[in-house]
């Protein structure tokens, strides 16, 4: 894997949540236009990996790099390059659909959002409706418009199609295809079938850390000289 110079790459990334090891040895390399699907059972670390790639969580080992440069070197530049859509919709009861878009554009540093993006997810009739009147599916679609509101090279999507109906899921697939056709990259963690033609797949189940590794402590003690780490 030529992760040294790929546009966006992860090398042997490992994750520990609290004291619980989640996964290790996750590597990939993405070039513009590439897609990546993360699969795996609950608790296998799909969400954690996405959060590491978004920069919320520090990898316990390995590194994530843009063009070979560790993303922690310039976190603000990394922020500008990526969109993250997690489990939460971030929809405020008191703000209208249009106001949400304006705010999301503002926090990304843009004066205003692209006006006609509401059509992409069939929300144009709801522009002046406050968040408290939206259904779960509409909220989901609203938060997905964030991807179009401002440009970002890398989309990090964690179960993006939850609560979407078939038609909306097709719209999301069209968005992803257009994004990648324009040179964007997409990483999608999902249980559902989302068409991402030509995308690599990583099965997180293959990267778990076994109980034996967890008990490294006692195994080491049995082996004589214990491992002190930084003690």
């Amino acid at each position: 894997m030529n992760d040294g110079t790929a546009r966006f790459a992860a090398r042997e990334v490992a994750c520990i949540r609290g004291e619980r090891p989640v996964f290790r040895d996750v590597s990939f390399a993405l070039e513009p236009g590439a897609g990546l699907i993360l699969r795996g059972p609950n608790g296998s670390g799909k969400s954690s990996l996405i959060r590491i790639l978004a920069g919320f969580l520090k990898p316990a080992g390995g590194m994530v790099a843009w063009g070979g440069e560790n993303m922690t070197v310039a976190p603000e530049a990394h922020n500008a390059r990526c969109h993250y859509v997690g489990h939460l919709e971030a929809v405020k009861a008191a703000l209208t659909v249009a106001e949400h878009l304006a705010f999301w554009a503002a926090v990304k540093g843009f004066a205003k959002a692209d006006d006609n993006i509401l059509a992409a997810l069939d929300l144009e009739d709801l522009a002046e409706v406050p968040g408290r009147f939206l259904s779960a599916g509409q909220k989901r679609r609203l938060t997905l418009t964030r991807l179009l509101a401002t440009p970002a090279e890398l989309w990090l999507l964690d179960e993006p199609s939850v609560t979407l109906d078939g038609q909306s899921a097709a719209r999301l697939e069209a968005m992803l295809a257009a994004h990648r056709a324009g040179g964007g990259m997409a990483i999608v963690a999902t249980h559902a079938e989302i068409a991402l033609p030509g995308a690599e797949t990583i099965d997180m189940a293959n990267h778990g850390i076994s109980a034996a590794a967890l008990l490294g402590e006692s195994a080491d003690a049995a082996a004589g000289e214990p491992d002190y780490g930084t003690w």
Binding site: G86, L88, A90, V91, A94, E99, A106, V107, K108
Partner: protein, 222 residues
């Protein structure tokens, strides 16, 4: 970055404006808490006059503290904080914007209510100007120090009660110097030194608290 900073403040103000009476809870609490004192210690005007600066400031402090929970909790729970954190604005400046918005929503209304309550407590007129200045310098400091408590307890189940335990001891200096200034003006001891210290405290809080709060928020976002 400027767009993001003011976009954040603008949204918080808009949310507060649409919050109806809910946004005024802080100032209503302030008014009610102050009016309890005459009921508690008796209506004797000399006594009320004597304790007025202290009562006003203690109640302002408690009112500010009660509103701290809202600074980050809602944005954390609905995922907005993740979006804000992934913007070009460093988290330290996010904290500054949130603290400024918090002050505009809670500190400023307190300043408007304070002189009216001072009249109710029969506070001597020499103290009014200094009371306003002390609030202008002191309440932003409370919002900034409070941001640390709010950020440290974000996402915790019992966060609300915990904030008071974390933040109130840190509020002690603001209380002492602010009340010292107002009493200094009333008793003719001079208020300048106290006000200068309050101003220094505000600058120090501006420079230091965003780092602590941002570190706590980073941890909450993990």
């Amino acid at each position: 970055m400027v767009t993001a900073f003011f976009g954040l403040i603008g949204r918080d103000l808009r949310l507060a404006a649409r919050g109806g009476i809910g946004s005024l809870v802080t100032v209503v609490f302030f008014v009610i808490a102050v009016s309890l004192f005459p009921l508690g210690v008796g209506p004797e005007s000399a006594l009320l006059e004597r304790i007025a600066p202290g009562v006003l400031w203690v109640c302002a402090l408690l009112a500010t503290m009660l509103s701290l929970g809202r600074m980050f909790d809602e944005d954390f729970e609905d995922g907005s904080l993740e979006i804000i954190a992934l913007g070009p604005l460093p988290l330290e400046l996010v904290v500054l914007a949130k603290a400024l918005a918090h002050w505009l929503i809670t500190g400023l209304p307190l300043m408007i209510a304070a002189p009216v309550l001072a009249v109710l407590l029969n506070m001597s007129t020499e103290g009014f100007a200094v009371l306003m200045i002390s609030l202008l310098l002191g309440t932003p400091t409370l919002s900034l120090i409070g941001s640390v408590g709010a950020a440290l307890t974000v996402g915790l189940r019992r966060g609300g009660v915990l904030i008071s335990l974390l933040v109130l001891p840190l509020y002690v200096p603001v209380l002492i110097f602010a009340v010292g200034a107002v009493e200094g003006a009333i008793f003719g001891l001079g208020e300048q030194a106290n006000l200068l210290i309050l101003a220094g405290g505000l600058l120090a809080a501006l420079a230091l608290t965003p780092w602590a709060s941002a570190a706590a928020l980073r941890m909450a976002l993990e």
